[in-house]
Amino acid sequence: MTGLLRRFTRHPGAVIGAVALLLVLALALLAPLLFPGSPWDMAGAPFSPPGEDGMLLGSDSLGRDVAAGIAYGARVSLMVGAVSTIVSILIGVALGALAGYLGGVVDDAVMRFTEFFQTIPSFVLAILLVAIFTPSITSIVAAIAIVSWPPVARVVRAEFLSLRGREFVQAAEVLGKRPLSIVLTDILPNALSPIIVLASLNTASAILLESSLSFLGLGDPNLMSWGFLIGSGRSVIRIAWWMSVFPGIAIFITVLALNLIGEGLSDAMNPRLRKRGAP
């Protein structure tokens, strides 16, 4: 494990990403300390530009502190990103592994099921699901997970298909290992790199999806989120740019950080890329 960490830290981009993500995480955790009181409360005069009226990033059209909104929004965005990614990866890996390892009829059935989801534009489906089940944090996370597992299933299936025919998997078969053990110890570890990269990308796109939903007014009405901030600031962007730009930068930094981390992890976990001499 320490070896993995050392190889990860050798990647400058990955380290920058990890630091950025840690800062966002710290912001989310420390939000109640940094900004006591609710982010929905009026904190000063409406339309204050950044730095005025004691508000670092200005205030919005109702006099709410944008900086506080971003800090509380980070909690929602990160939570939505993490939970929906975990759910979508679990669904995708399970179905993809099933299809790729068993093949035949199972493969056909699973893939047609996957295609069924892929033929519907994912954002439209997400809007539909949230609208039907009334906007709440649970329905948003569920909707995002439901629209983002199909690519995971496809990638995992493709990896499993190619790995299943490798001689080391056949060797495991000849050793008499159980199918579940072959899948978990022989095939899955070798398919991990694309899954991890996909997970980091999915987290990023889940954050974007949640922001888009909130932007359209389909966010959880009780929770402050980055998309909501942009959405509420969009009508006055020409006179008060800071209301949309700062939450936008927050999304940008978080998404970029996640992508950098994903790339660093995938390199660090691949033993063939280890430098010679390093354990």
Binding site: A172, L175, G176
Partner: protein, 533 residues
């Protein structure tokens, strides 16, 4: 005057490589109408020498010194545009892998014509293409010129490549392992063809190979390369029959003998494995609309394997030998027949019922690079099987250490990962993994065909030694008759899914009864040559 002369050529490797120079101070000469074989193991720099002559050195490999004189001019100082004109017209090359060397979307005739067109001979193309195809002994040239490459077999594609290389009657033909990817019988045809064509036109041929049998078959002169240097060169007779350098001697000693050594017959005990009427058919295509094709991979392959003996299954690619081996360990499920192991039919058994037999039947795989899980340490890989069958982990790891010693590897290798080992070492690890189960039957599927000759000889010796020490019974699958002769007590020859002949090794080799066996034996390269060491 010599056609090609390489003088003191040194090509560097990038920093951090395993040696400073890819090739060092290489000097060679090739006269018109002569075949020069460059022999060496992988990594010896033989292909690099050929690529340097063609001006095809990869970027980042600097020529440090030396000259390559072709008909008196230095190719290394020739400008790229002029080099391009020379390539294809005066210098031609054939590559190792015929399956990927042709453009799959272009008709064969058009590809040959294109080779002529780029050198301004388009007018002649229509007339010359059928002639060329005929010259490389391809049947029905007119029809074949209009076919796409996927219709052609590997041997036919290699003939097309040769036709293309000869289209403009080059003075020098460089052939980089042109027969390595081919079956023995096809290899022999291609070797004869190259000999015949170069004899007819007086072409000089630089022939790169790792196989001393091929050298004996085709070479006029030989240069042996080791780690980037030419260690010995001379006429074929000198080098083959009176090698002076130690490395050449070692290489020649490692060549598997073509004739079967007399060995004691194994006492005819109980057969431990018998195949009766096993049949495996593959279906391709088809579906809702129309029927697909079916292909009988194995049929009529009855055999008996007695305790303690080694049975070789010999055949060319597609003969069904690997399918047969995989059917025995249930990696392939045949649709009918009996696979009797100590009288128990294994074929209808399910995964759980099979499990006790996994301990007793083990397999060594062909590809040393694909047969080990890249993410698991060597020790874990070896201990895994016994652990699966209920041996405590500590005991299994202790045993893995002993096994590494048995296959002549350092027990310190336990915690390292497969990518840190060479092909031969990995094959030993694969063997240790199979032996960890303490099997009584070992199935070896082409265990040495991906290895260099000297490594091949070591692994074969190790296999023979372990087999004797542990009293293993072995089913040895190979395409190489020389290897089979070296290690097997009995041999079964497979052709198109059926065993056409089987018997004691000496009997099959000395008095083959089936026409196909005779054809195979006649195709062993260098069978007229008896290695001196």
């Amino acid at each position: 005057m010599s056609l090609l002369s390489v003088e003191g050529l040194t090509v560097g490797l990038p920093k951090g490589g395993d040696r400073a120079n890819a090739i060092e101070d290489v000097s060679l000469t090739l006269a018109p109408g002569e075949i020069l074989c460059i022999v060496g193991e992988s990594g010896s720099g033989k292909s690099m020498t050929a690529n340097a002559a063609m001006g095809l050195l990869p970027h980042g490999l600097p020529v440090r010194s030396g000259r390559i004189l072709f008909e008196g001019r230095d190719l290394l100082t020739t400008p790229p545009e002029e080099m391009r004109r020379l390539r294809g017209s005066r210098l031609a090359m054939i590559f190792q892998e015929p399956m990927t060397a042709l453009n799959p979307l272009m008709r064969v005739g058009d590809q040959i014509a294109e080779a002529m067109r780029v050198h301004g001979a388009a007018a002649e193309a229509a007339r010359r293409v059928p002639e060329l195809l005929e010259a490389v002994n391809l049947p029905d040239p007119g029809n074949l010129a209009r076919s796409y490459p996927f219709r052609l077999s590997g041997g036919q594609r290699q003939r097309v490549m040769i036709a293309m290389a000869l289209a403009l009657e080059p003075a020098l033909l460089i052939a980089d392992e042109p027969t390595t990817a081919l079956d023995v019988t096809t290899q022999m045809q291609i070797l004869r063809l190259i000999r015949e064509v170069q004899g007819r036109r007086g072409t000089g041929v630089m022939f790169i190979t790792h196989d001393f049998g091929v050298v004996a078959e085709i070479a006029d002169r030989v240069a042996v390369m080791q780690r980037g240097r030419v260690v010995e060169s001379g006429t074929a007779a000198e080098v083959l029959n009176a090698p002076r350098h130690d490395y050449t001697r070692a290489l020649i000693a490692a060549v598997p003998r073509g004739s079967a050594a007399k060995r004691e017959a194994v006492a005819p005990g109980e057969p431990i494995l018998s195949l009766r009427g096993v049949r495996k058919t593959y279906h391709r295509g088809g579906g809702l609309f129309g029927k697909g094709q079916s292909f009988k991979a194995v049929h009529d392959a009855d055999l008996d394997l007695r305790r303690g003996e080694t049975l070789g299954i010999v055949g060319e690619s597609g003969s069904g030998k690997s399918t047969l081996a995989r059917a025995i360990v249930r990696l392939v499920r045949p649709e009918e027949g009996e696979i009797l192991f100590h009288g128990t039919d294994l074929r209808p058994l399910g995964r759980e019922a099979w499990k006790p037999f996994r301990r007793r039947i083990q397999m060594v795989f062909q590809d040393p690079y694909a047969s080990l899980n890249p993410r698991r340490s060597v020790g874990e890989a070896i201990a895994e099987g016994p652990v699966t069958h209920g041996v405590p982990r500590a005991a299994a790891l202790e045993r893995a250490r002993e096994l590494l010693r048995l296959v002549q590897l350092d027990p310190g290798a336990m915690d390292r990962y497969p990518h840190e080992f060479s092909g031969g070492q990995r094959q030993r690890i694969g063997l240790a993994r199979a032996l960890a189960m303490e099997p009584e039957l070992l199935i070896a599927d082409e265990p040495v065909s991906a290895l260099d000759v000297s490594v091949q000889a070591q692994v074969l010796a190790l296999l023979a030694d372990i087999r004797k020490r542990l009293g293993l019974t072995m089913l040895f699958i190979t395409h190489d008759l020389r290897v089979a002769a070296e290690i097997c007590d009995r041999v079964a020859v497979m052709q198109r899914g059926a065993i056409v002949e089987q018997g004691a090794t000496a009997q099959v080799f000395d008095a083959p009864r089936h026409a196909y066996t005779r054809a195979l034996l006649e195709s062993i390269p260098g069978r007229g040559w008896t290695p001196p060491v």
